[in-house]
């Protein structure tokens, strides 16, 4: 007798109807297309470069650059190599990004909270700011600050003088520079000691609270330690700090710290522009914490400050942090607009001058893109780790 079950088995499908076979087939085609595209790109590029007499390889990084850069964080002069110009550009990019991130965050949080203010005037003013600034292109704002505002400042001889220590003119902003003397190590030591003490105290306070339920005024005490210890160290070391004042030397100022107008314009524009986006993120984050949470905290008898610190802010931060990081990334990427006003960032120095002088477009563009890719991917990675840490634990 024949087994009837075998008749009920589906006929084995034709291979071109089998999803697994199809998927392998399509993937092979995709790989082939990508390889073919990549190979023809490389082939075209190599033959084009050969016909134009462009050399390949990264040897140019060790050649002498021979051009000056108006501002550098690392020691640089025209006799140094193209590799050094890359470092100068990278340092300048990181500098303006870091400055912008700090100010944009502070400004953005202030404006975001102001958007929710119970004061009608303040809330509307913040709304107006956000709606105007974020709807105007960033490049236009950079141009505005650089060509319209900073360029119309007085010349060095007629500088705006703030108490003989800070000078502002169309060549930049000049600040006194702190010069550390012998014995300043004691101050650093005091700073580290204070930080260690605060961390220890915090652990003790938490342990005590878990054991007895008693709260310790950690914030006030910690702040006092962090302020008082370094000041004591400073006094005991005999005030080991001197200020170098900027002064007019010939046609321009010398000495002190100078902020060139290119940097200032870029910094102001990046901060103001990004702050308008951060403000909206902060606002939506705070709004997202439901009213029941605050009410529940009140019902449990938590004081207002603790409600904010333990209930509202942690939940708001969960909403705020991911878009906030992408704003930071945007700011870092937008700092490349520096090239439009001549601030020597990575794109202006390396992809601009170095590329023009060496003609090695492929290598230079690849390096520049790799830098941005590294920054972007590492921040995304940190972001994902953080996200996993703060995500709501569902059981």
């Amino acid at each position: 007798m024949k087994n009837e079950a075998s008749d009920l088995k589906p006929a084995s499908p034709k291979p071109w109807y089998d999803p697994r076979v199809r998927s392998v087939f399509f993937q092979i085609i995709a790989i082939a297309l990508v390889f073919w595209g990549g190979w023809s790109l490389v082939d075209n590029t190599l033959s084009n470069m050969e016909s134009r007499g462009i050399s390949t390889g990264f040897g140019f990084l060790n050649e002498t650059a021979g051009f000056g850069i108006i501002m550098s964080m690392v020691p640089y002069d025209a006799t140094m190599t193209y590799g050094r110009t890359f470092l100068v550009g990278l340092a300048n990019t990181l500098l303006v990004s870091a400055m912008g991130i700090v100010t944009a965050t502070i400004l953005g949080f202030i404006i975001g909270v102001a958007r929710l203010s119970s004061n009608w005037l303040v809330a509307k003013l913040a709304l107006t700011y956000v709606e105007i600034i974020r709807n105007i292109p960033l490049l236009l704002q950079i141009f505005f600050w650089y060509f319209a505002v900073l360029a119309s400042l007085p010349s060095p001889r007629q500088s705006v003088d703030l108490g003989g220590t800070v000078f502002l003119n169309n060549r930049g902003l000049y600040l006194p520079e702190p010069l550390t003397q012998d014995g300043f190590g004691l101050v650093w030591g005091a700073v580290f000691a204070a930080i260690a003490l605060v961390i220890g105290l915090r652990a003790w306070a938490r342990k005590r609270q878990l054991a007895t339920g008693q709260l310790f005024p950690m914030f006030r005490v910690g702040l006092a330690i962090l302020l008082i210890l370094p000041v004591l160290g400073y006094v005991f070391a005999g005030a080991p700090l001197e200020w170098e004042l900027p002064s007019l030397q010939g046609f321009n100022f010398g000495g002190g710290i100078s902020i060139i107008p290119e940097l200032a314009a870029l910094w102001i524009a990046l901060s103001l522009y990004t702050a308008s986006f951060i403000a909206e993120i902060v606002r939506s984050g705070i709004v997202s914490v439901s009213k029941g949470q605050t009410e529940a905290a009140k019902a449990l008898g938590l004081p207002n400050g603790l409600t904010l610190r333990l209930v509202v802010i942690p939940q708001a931060m969960r909403v705020i942090i991911p878009p906030l990081t992408s704003q930071y990334l945007n700011l870092a990427k937008n700092s490349s607009l520096a090239t439009a006003i001549g601030y020597p960032d990575l794109v202006a120095v390396f992809m601009g001058t170095t590329l023009n002088q060496t003609g090695q477009a492929v290598e230079v563009v690849a390096i520049t893109m790799a830098v941005y890719l590294t920054i972007s991917l590492s921040i995304s990675l940190l972001m994902n780790i953080y996200n996993r840490a703060v995500a709501i634990k569902e059981r």
């Binding site: 119970s118 004061n119 005037l121 709807n135 505005f144 794109v347 563009v365 941005y372 890719l373 991917l377």
Partner: protein
């Protein structure tokens, strides 16, 4: 003994009550109101007189800018340049016609009850680019050729943003579907493509398009500067578009996929008939928002030497014939962008509210 009478409650309506609640609810708020109010009044007054009262509106040249306020006649004088760039004057009707068609297609989208507005929008996304392709450069139907080097101003800004969005939409859809694919190699290719383009700033993309594209292409195949910029913008924008569309694909409930499978639909029918129509509708606000940011980012093309609206204004400002008109020029461009972007963002917020049919918690 009767209870002592309670005081009547404080007035809760009327301007006085409103001010007490919203401006002077506590000593702290009162102080804030006074300080902020003072700052606003002292800055708005001079600004108003600079823009309107003391400004010069009419005249023939720079010498007529006599007022202490803004010199608007400079905008008036150069308006043609700011809108059309170097496009020949007698052929500008073609650009005007395109502006008109754009308005006909997209203005009805703002009007709720406009009959057949969907078809206008669809034509704007499909037919209109074809019309523009023949109309703006000319060369067919006996129209005179206008080289793309002569295009500029607002017209160029709109061309860049419009083509950038329309070309990146299909690429973005393909990339988003690829990123959600179950085939690991296709998914990998799409992820790498999207992440690389999203990680680099637009300016490096434009540099690459203008410097390196000629190296990448075989001999004899070449594009002019505008097309190279457009290729760069499109590739860059399609990565962002893909992420927006992926958001929509992820928001479709699993049941929709399973129902389509249960009906025996294949991948393309499932995607084309069930998933994409729902997902795309859901992400219209997101697409509009990426359009706004692309629209603002098109100003970057001036760095590679194209004259968009900011580029034309910038070149006029540095023109020695006009002195000290930088602020006026920038305010004019800012105003143009602001009108567009603010209007469109309001539209997208409106849409978001309308599309939010309460399925989300």
């Amino acid at each position: 003994m009767a209870e002592p009478m309670m005081k009547p409650p404080k007035i809760a309506i009327g301007p006085v009550a409103w001010m007490r609640q919203n401006l002077f609810s506590s000593w702290y708020n009162s102080l804030l109101t006074i300080v902020v109010g003072y700052l606003v009044i002292t800055s708005v007054g001079p600004l108003f007189s600079w823009v309107f009262l003391d400004a010069s509106f009419l005249g023939a040249g720079p010498e007529d800018c006599t007022g202490t306020g803004a010199c608007w006649l400079f905008i008036n004088e150069r308006l043609n340049f700011f809108i059309y760039g170097f496009y020949p004057g007698e052929l500008q009707w073609r650009v005007d016609l395109m502006f008109l068609l754009l308005a006909v297609c997209f203005v009805p989208q703002f009007i709720e009850r406009f009959p057949g507005r969907k078809w206008f929008g669809l034509f704007g996304l499909t037919g209109l680019p074809v019309v523009g392709y023949f109309l703006i450069p000319g060369g067919t139907f006996g129209m005179e050729i206008v080289q793309s080097t002569k295009w500029g101003g607002l017209m160029l800004t709109l061309i860049l943003a419009y083509i950038g969005i329309i070309a990146s939409l299909p690429i973005g859809i393909v990339l988003a579907l690829g990123r959600r694919s179950e085939m690991p190699i296709i998914r990998g290719i799409c992820v790498v493509f999207i992440e690389v383009w999203r990680a680099v700033p637009l300016i490096t993309v434009l540099f690459m398009a203008s410097v390196m594209l000629p190296l990448f292409l075989p001999d004899g195949m070449n594009f002019e500067k505008l097309s190279r910029a457009l290729i760069g913008i499109t590739l860059w924008q399609s990565a962002y578009m893909a992420e927006v569309i992926r958001g929509g694909l992820q928001a479709i409930p699993r049941g929709q996929y399973e129902a389509a499978d249960a009906l025996g639909l294949g991948y393309w029918k499932k995607t084309g008939l069930i998933i994409l129509p729902q997902a795309l509708k859901m992400v219209i606000p997101g697409i509009v928002n990426t359009f706004i940011s692309l629209f603002k980012d098109t100003t970057l093309v001036l760095i590679i030497g194209l004259f968009d609206i900011l580029g034309t204004v910038q070149s006029t400002i540095t023109d020695p014939a006009w002195q000290n008109v930088a602020i006026e020029g920038y305010v004019f461009v800012a105003f143009c962008f602001w009108i567009f972007c603010f209007g469109i963002s309001r539209y997208s917020q409106n849409l978001e509210r309308k599309l939010d049919t309460g399925h989300k918690t």
